[in-house]
């Protein structure tokens, strides 16, 4: 039901995510932004249990502490490894109580959140990291989570090539969204697309087929 996917292009990386907040058969809202802007040049798209998606806020605050402490931002690779470590620790270890960094919860349950981390570093360029809820970490060119991944991965396998321009990449994203909408039985209606490049991380567009308006439904 929840779909997050992303890819790396020429000088940029993008993450697209659906925007439904669902509880069993009820859609709470269809404009829930699941792609967090971590800092000036990083995006974190998270899919999974709604409560655990706030894990991304925790990562964001720790990234900010690092920046204040050291005067320079964390690299994307370092952030990915930090995130993975936090997920791994939550699998087995009881947290220390004195704040080395911010303590979130004393928890031994996994955070049920799958993450695509996209970032741009000055000397490295764009990068994308696939981090799943049991702390798998892979640096990838394209990745996807959720039921939508069955369709988006196939579409990307067919159409993705490295070094795509932004227009080509958005075109591929739209193709993926069409596949999800037409082939997934409980397809989410709306998506948000965010990109990160040398000019920073920002929202690129929404793809809405249903607006959260009272009464009137969109075409």
């Amino acid at each position: 039901m929840e779909c997050v996917f992303g890819m790396v292009g020429d000088g940029f990386a993008l993450v697209a995510a659906d925007t439904s907040a669902v509880h069993s058969i009820l859609v709470h809202k269809s404009n829930e932004d699941k792609v967090m802007i971590l800092d000036s040049h990083k995006l974190l798209g998270a899919s999974g249990e709604a409560g655990d998606r706030s894990f991304t806020e925790y990562i964001q605050k720790n990234v900010h502490v690092y920046e204040f402490r050291n005067g320079i931002p964390l690299t994307t690779a370092a952030t990915a490894n930090f995130t993975r470590c936090e997920l791994a620790l939550a699998l087995r270890k009881v947290r220390p109580s004195c704040p080395v960094h911010i303590v979130f919860l004393v928890s031994q349950n996994p955070y049920f959140v799958n993450i695509l981390l996209a970032g741009y570093d000055k000397n490295i360029g764009p990068s994308l990291y696939y981090i799943d809820y049991i702390a798998t970490l892979h640096k990838v060119d394209k990745g996807a989570f959720g039921y939508g991944s069955y369709f988006t991965l196939s579409m990307m396998d067919r159409h993705y090539k490295s070094g795509m321009s932004l227009e080509e990449a958005i075109d591929l994203v739209d193709k993926c969204i069409i596949e999800i909408r037409s082939r997934l039985v409980v397809a989410p209606p709306n998506f948000v697309i965010k990109i990160v490049d040398k000019d920073g991380a920002r929202e690129y567009a929404w793809r809405e087929s249903i607006k959260d308006a009272a009464g009137v439904s969109a075409a």
């Binding site: 605050k61 900010h64 502490v65 204040f68 704040p99």
Partner: protein, 249 residues
């Protein structure tokens, strides 16, 4: 590990906490630091004692950011400062995480002062040997604020204050010359206060200016030199005017 339960900071018969007072002594030996609050600008200035030739002065930052809208300068034991600053930075982000709002200047000052107080009432530890000047803009009202904490854990808000070496002279100067200022005038007032006790010149002073729009900005040595030159010129002009008042027709 053995439990540390023996208190080090205990009352004297006449009601003094000597460890805290000795900590204040350590502050008095630290570098001079001054803070001035203007209507739209807050300035922090710190004396830079002569840097050894081989030292990379960029690694010795005396005015630091705690968050995008809060900055801190201190006088006293710099290693103790590092610990407090670290905890404060974490607290700033922790506050943002739990209540989704940035800290107010008063909140983070209260937090730092609370930490300093805790170490005057715990077993096996000594007080932090530093006083801090904390500045920032209220994230909701945009009102500028300047606070000071000391090793005892007390804090209060100020229009302008100084701490560290010769802080009394600087404070006297500020009491005599303080008026509501904004922008560059606030910077000048802070530098004039520092120049009372510090050898003049850009390389002996570190100045940082905080505004609502641009956050904290450290001034370059050349900028500081230029302002110092302006101040000296104004002083000279004032002296000349004093010496020959009858000449003005």
């Amino acid at each position: 590990m053995a439990r540390y339960d023996r208190a080090i900071t205990v009352f004297s018969p006449d009601g003094h906490l000597f460890q805290v007072e000795y900590a204040l002594e350590a502050v008095r030996k630290g570098n001079a630091a001054v803070g001035v609050r203007g209507t739209d600008t807050i300035v922090l200035g710190v004396e830079k004692k002569s840097t050894p030739k081989l030292q990379d002065s960029r690694s010795v930052r005396k005015i630091v950011s705690l968050d995008t809208h809060i900055a801190l300068a201190c006088a006293g034991l710099k290693a103790d400062a590092r610990v407090l600053i670290n905890r404060a930075r974490i607290e700033c982000q922790s506050h943002r995480l739990t209540v989704e709002d940035p800290v107010t200047v008063e909140y983070i000052t209260r937090y730092i002062a609370g930490l300093q107080q805790k170490y005057t009432q715990s077993g096996g530890v000594r007080p932090f040997g530093l006083s801090t000047l904390i500045v920032g803009f209220d994230p909701y009202t945009g009102v500028p604020a300047l606070y000071q904490t000391d090793p005892s854990g007390t804090f209060s808000a100020w229009k302008a204050n100084a701490t560290g070496r010769n802080s009394n002279s600087m404070r006297e100067f500020l009491e005599k010359n303080y008026k509501e200022t904004s922008g560059q005038e606030t910077v000048k007032l802070a530098i004039r206060a520092l120049l009372e006790v510090v050898e003049s010149g850009g390389k002996n002073i570190e100045i940082a200016v905080m505004t609502k729009e641009h956050g904290l900005r450290q001034l370059e040595e050349a900028e500081i030199d230029a302002i110092v030159a302006e101040i000296e010129a104004e002083k000279a002009a004032a002296e000349a005017a004093k010496k020959a008042p009858s000449r003005d027709t």
